[in-house]
């Protein structure tokens, strides 16, 4: 740990707890799960599931950029969402935002997310 492995950027919502936006190790960057909060206000964006998921991916993208990576270098993505009726919208938006080479993915329904968030997404990405 000769240099700081952690990344926090103003272009994503400020961490609301004891964690950083991203942490680098071994050629990979690990990113904290992002929800649909506006980076400027910290509030949830309006517009329901689709708006929240788009914003969450925007936040993920901003963090990856700050960490020296990008969406097209994501190795693995993980998505949690609350309402199974949002599955089709999740898949459609995900398909619009992620392109070849597509990452591996795990997604699942959960009982609840922080402060009523409808969806969140994290990832592990390559730095090279």
């Amino acid at each position: 740990m000769t240099s700081d492995p952690t990344v926090v950027t103003k272009d994503a919502p400020e961490p609301r707890g004891p964690y950083v936006h991203a942490r680098q190790h071994g050629g990979l960057v690990y990113v904290t799960a992002q929800i649909g909060r506006d980076p400027k206000t910290g509030d949830f964006v309006e517009g329901g599931f689709e708006a929240e998921f788009q914003q969450a991916i925007d936040n993920l993208e901003a963090i990856l950029k700050a960490a020296g990576s990008s969406l097209d270098r994501v190795v693995k993505a993980q998505i949690e969402f609350v309402d199974e009726r949002d599955l089709d919208a999740m898949n459609r938006i995900y398909g619009e935002r992620f392109h070849d080479p597509l990452p591996a993915r795990t997604s699942f329904g959960v009982a609840f997310l922080w402060k009523g968030a409808k969806v969140q997404i994290d990832c592990i990405a390559a730095l090279d």
């Binding site: 004891p18 964690y19 942490r23 690990y30 959960v110």
Partner: protein, 133 residues
């Protein structure tokens, strides 16, 4: 596969299934999710969410130390919990136990974690991936 090593620590609650406490590979240690179980008797500790999470992090820390790692080398944590009202306490407790350089984190609410014989239920569990010393 000689670079892979499963680790069962004397200092964590003994695994109750087909898994070790941790798996070491490639300069990293992957730690099995820990609940608030006493390492001595495996029983869930009292004290609600605070007691359980504190013990779970104690267990995580003991396992990490046995694997030549530590809490400040944790790269990523995942926390699963059963009551949305516990979120603030979880943050407060993690803030007391994790220090810079902080890890990244993913948390979510689950329907249940483990069935217990008594009235207490497992309310939280935490796993991690960490760098080795």
């Amino acid at each position: 596969m000689s670079s892979h090593r499963g680790v069962v620590s004397r200092h964590g609650p003994q695994p109750t299934g087909s898994y070790p406490h941790a798996h070491v590979h490639g300069g990293m240690v992957w730690v099995t999710a820990q609940a608030g179980r006493d390492p001595g008797d495996g029983e869930l500790v009292p004290g609600g969410i605070a007691g359980q999470l504190s013990q779970a992090i104690d267990n995580l820390e003991a396992i990490l130390e046995d694997c030549a790692s530590s809490l400040d080398r944790v790269v990523r944590t995942q926390i699963m919990y059963t009551d949305p009202d516990d979120a603030d306490q979880i943050d407060a407790l993690c803030a007391r136990r994790f220090h810079a350089p902080l890890p990244v984190r993913t948390t979510w609410g689950v329907k249940f974690l483990a069935a217990e014989p008594g009235s207490e239920v497992v309310r939280v569990q935490i796993d991690c991936v960490a760098e080795l010393r």
